[in-house]
Amino acid sequence: MKVLEGLYYSKDHEWVKVENDKAYIGITDYAQHSLGNIVYIELPEVGTELSAEDVLGVAESVKAASDVYIPVDGKVLEVNNSIVDDPSLVNTDPYENWMVLVELKDKSQLDSLMTKEQYEEFISKE
């Protein structure tokens, strides 16, 4: 399972890639793998203000619908519509194909997320 250096990871299998006061958020390789073929993705509207642990969107596999949670507080600046049009892109490369770009509200929240090594350890026990 691919885990990238430099990203933050949540126990719900989302990744956060910080760029200054903004962050890209998506689901991990582990998550896309457990879901299987992703056939439908729902994303929030631009401008939505979300608190950590809120439902950010939905990823549906052939078999079931799964909520995706936002690991930090944030205001949605952009959504990636290309994965709405072709959800299988998330299976192909879950780190390249982010779900939303948010404005971070409280960067200290990142401290509660996992590093690459911690996340690798975490999924090895799942």
Partner: protein, 368 residues
């Protein structure tokens, strides 16, 4: 997964990258490669399913025929030896105890294939109703393994492993024994995918050998190991019901739209009075097919509404891998159940528009 029942193939799922889930108390692979790839393999080439969790019950004895005529809704009076029939067993209210296949060896020996989740219930139900009938009922489920090879290339692949001319086994017929890779099996031209194919029954100890052999032999023809995920999408597209979704103890076969397998003009059987009455009084609800107009995938259990009124629920729904459409089956109040009518399916609290269409989403591709 430790507390789950396992088929004799459990230990080799990992070798084929099988992703194991809990299905009705059984540890079974939902997929090996991907549900869509396996689904397409079965539609275009072939897939091999481990269905050893299915139950097998034998009914033998002088009264086997009359006993079964009383237990099931379909009519076996015209059934030939070596023929198979699809049927329901109903309770007194007409609800479905189980849907099953009945294999007729002769009028004193039948072989029933039942759903894994219902094995104990069915066995008990048969024993409870045995009464004075001179029959011996045996649950041999734990001794028998079953593989299903399904798809347009199923016969071609399986034929390479057998000297028996498989083309002679007609649709819903069987032969026993048939040597497959030297192993004596019961082989029927049956399945649960809407494609041509065979179901193969054998003693547990041979199933790993046969699985590996069929996988190896079928590779060049595009055969893939296939899991429960594609089994469900395939049967759904073909309009075949799943017990627990379209059929339950509370849903009658007529409500489910399978009256064809209920012969109300035959001799008495359990549930007949209730079903006759339901016919006379008219249905209050029934299962319809539908297609989403607004974008969303319908799922089992989602509510169906018209305005603010709940009129039913989704029994099965998918983004159909073959048709690439969001389609489903729903059990709804009869007054709304007309093709072309629109209703809403509630997906994550949002009512999304759908239209009723005919239930045969995918044209079955049987070799008859």
């Amino acid at each position: 997964m430790d507390n789950l029942k396992k088929t004799p193939l459990y230990d080799i799922y990992e070798k084929y990258n099988g992703k194991v889930i809990d299905f009705a108390g059984w540890a079974l692979p939902v997929q090996y490669d991907s549900i869509i790839a396996e689904h397409e393999a079965v539609r275009n080439n072939a897939g091999l399913f481990d269905v050893s969790h299915m139950g097998e019950i034998t009914v033998k004895g002088k009264d086997a025929y009359t006993f079964l005529q009383y237990m099931i809704t379909n009519d076996i009076s015209q059934l030939n030896d070596n023929q198979v029939i699809y049927t329901f067993m109903c309770n007194k209210n007409g609800g479905v105890v189980d849907d099953l296949l009945v294999y007729k060896y002769n009028s004193e020996y039948f072989y029933l294939v039942v759903n894994a989740g219902n094995i104990e219930k069915d066995y008990k139900w048969l024993l409870e109703n045995k009464g004075e009938y001179d029959v011996e009922i045996k649950n041999i489920s734990s001794e028998v393994s079953e593989l299903a090879i399904q798809g347009p290339k199923a016969e071609k692949i399986l034929q390479k492993l057998s000297d028996t001319d498989l083309s002679k086994i007609g649709f819903f017929y069987f032969k026993d024994p048939v040597k497959i890779d030297g192993i004596d099996c019961l082989v029927s031209r049956t399945g649960y995918t809407g494609e041509d194919g065979f179901e193969i029954y054998m003693p547990n100890k041979y199933v790993i050998q046969l699985w590996e052999k069929i996988i190896e032999t079928g590779k060049e023809d595009g055969l893939k190991p296939a899991g429960l995920g594609s089994r469900d999408t395939l049967r759904f597209e073909a309009g075949l019901p799943l017990y627990g979704n379209e059929l339950t103890d509370e849903i009658t076969p007529i409500e489910a739209g399978f009256e064809f397998f209920v012969k109300l003009d035959k001799s008495d059987f359990i549930g007949k009075d209730a079903l006759l009455k339901q016919k006379q009084d008219g249905l209050k609800r029934k299962i319809v097919g539908f297609e989403m107009i607004e974008n969303g995938i319908p799922r089992h259990g989602y509510e169906v509404m018209i305005n603010d009124k709940k009129i039913g629920y989704v029994t099965t729904g998918y983004l159909s891998p073959t048709l690439k459409k969001n389609i489903g089956l729903a059990l709804i109040d009869i007054e709304y159940a007309k093709t072309g009518n629109e209703f809403n399916v509630v997906i994550r609290k949002k009512p999304l528009k759908a239209v009723i269409i005919k239930k045969q989403f995918y044209k079955k591709n049987y070799k008859k």
